[in-house]
Symmetry: C2
Subunit: 324 residues, 2 copies
């Protein structure tokens, strides 16, 4: 049984398979969409795995559900907790709600009201902290002490990685004979899950990660051979600001073929192009792979490429291509 | 064989079936999506037939392909022509391009450059006219005279209606036991096709149409028992401004259960809600059915309802909920 201290090296395919069975009642098997326009533009055959259609609007619900539904009853009864203002907070709140247990979320009091409302909308219980790492850590420790809630890290947790691994298991069933898979990389949870599954089930499929030029810590880590963390990067792809940690570095360092980066304007253009041509709402983070493919056409031309669309939770009142 | 003068009363199920076979190589069998959030909100079970994912971004490509690929070679060689600045122009251009014949589109010179560019992007040849009905008709007659191109009306054409009818044939295969289908109504092409198919294959399924309060000519026609045309209506649902014509009135008057309307703010709210919750890009026109369902909850509560999402061609630089 996985727990929050299980090292990534202990993860096996059986953990992914157990996760898949465990979370099946709570998540969607998301569709794969294609676009002849984008195929013509890139010279590749692209298969978009649409986790923007996932429950809570993002792939992160897979890992969150695996963590929540894997808890024994006594632990579960005390609830779960995390610090996040993004999709992991929504996803963990959703998963906890499905199990009928509390989910405590520590968020800076400066976080946008829309994000707080979204967490509350999924039943999350917010404890506000000051916008500093120290305050967040102190506040989180206090929440843990008072509630006994189980901490579920957004990505540096074997239970979460095993859950994210279910996405590419579906993808390779839906699309045979892929040459490569590309996904955005922030903390590395999705990429690690992808590595776990593909290294066992489809070891010939190359795995690419994509991140913003402005938050290229994973690419620099990859080339350096050890984790390098950025100092407070700023990018439109706000889901990708966080650094790798030891459990995701385990997979990234062993199984990733390469990490490509893209500029801010390339990311926004790829995002808008996807909305225009595919008629789907995707987050800026999900546009980074397409931007990377367009920047590196020789790598992808003629290839069958799975592109993981990680989420669709966008503030529709502030789109990055509409000035204001 | 259908031609542009065939009256709607002569349309049979065999014409829909022939259309389906004819257009199959050129159009998508679009997916049906659901949303537990919108089901909870409406108390109904909603099945969204996503023609926004269709080729050229709209259902209209079905009718356009049926018209274009049904032409004999000699007629086809002279090309096709229409007057439209919307999805029919894109769709007819797409269909003509697939057959390798010219498509002439008469558009007011005041039409947005984005719309002209979109038509040209699909290979359409634009002839500009002054922004008046007289100029449009004169210009169009001149194009017809010079080219001998076959006129394909956006909806008042049996070939087009037979093509649109293929959409609900797919829908009832994808979702068994529907109680009702609802679609937006402008000129009535989609609703007429829906009537053609369902009256034969699923006569117990009730057919609802939805239109803006501000362009409620179909609802008023329905209650009056004869066609009433609006005088230049203005609505955010710009695909729904056109009036019924005799071939669509044939179906609307015989097979539609009721026509519901929605206010401008309700349409915009339903559009934004669909983007937010379903993560799909839909046109304002497609949001009218959801707005109508939300305004008439007692009609739809507890029902299994097919909702036809007619298209996704939106100007992403001007969203109706973002002021400016």
């Amino acid at each position: 049984m996985l727990d929050r201290t299980t090292p990534a090296a202990d993860l096996t395919l059986a953990h992914m398979e157990a996760a898949r069975e465990r979370i099946a009642p709570h998540v969607h098997r998301t569709p794969v969409l294609t676009s002849s326009y984008l195929d013509d533009l890139t010279g590749a055959r692209l298969f978009f795995k649409c986790e923007n259609f996932q429950k809570a609007g993002a792939f992160k619900v897979r890992g969150a559900c695996n963590a929540v539904f894997g808890l024994d009853d006594a632990t579960a009864a005390r609830g779960v907790a995390t610090h996040s203002s993004g999709n992991h907070a929504l996803s963990l709140s959703y998963a906890a709600g499905r199990r009928g247990i509390p989910c405590h979320v520590v968020m800076p009091r400066t976080a946008p009201e829309a994000k707080k409302a979204a967490v509350r909308g999924y039943g999350g219980l917010i404890t506000e902290c000051a916008p500093s790492t120290t305050s967040r850590e102190e506040t989180f420790a206090e929440v843990e002490r008072q509630t006994g809630a189980e901490f579920v890290h957004p990505y540096n947790d074997a239970r979460v990685i095993a859950g994210q691994a279910t996405c590419s298991a579906e993808l390779i069933e839906q699309v045979p004979d892929l040459d490569a898979v590309i996904a955005p990389i922030g903390g590395g949870g999705m990429i690690s899950g992808t590595c776990l599954t593909l290294s066992h089930l489809a070891p010939k499929v190359r795995i690419y990660a994509a991140e913003p030029d402005r938050a290229d810590d994973a690419a620099r880590s990859f080339r350096a051979g050890h984790i390098i963390a950025d100092d407070a990067p700023e990018t439109v792809a706000d889901g990708l600001k966080v650094p790798l940690k030891e459990n995701t570095w385990h997979f990234v360092s062993r199984y990733v073929t390469d990490i490509h980066t893209a500029a801010e304007d390339e990311i926004v253009a790829a995002m808008k192009l996807t909305w225009q041509r595919m008629k789907i709402v995707i987050e800026p983070s999900c546009a980074v792979p397409l931007a990377a493919i367009l920047r590196n056409p020789d790598v992808y031309r003629g290839q069958r490429v799975g592109v993981i669309i990680t989420g669709g939770n966008v503030d529709l009142d502030r789109l990055p291509w509409i000035g204001g």
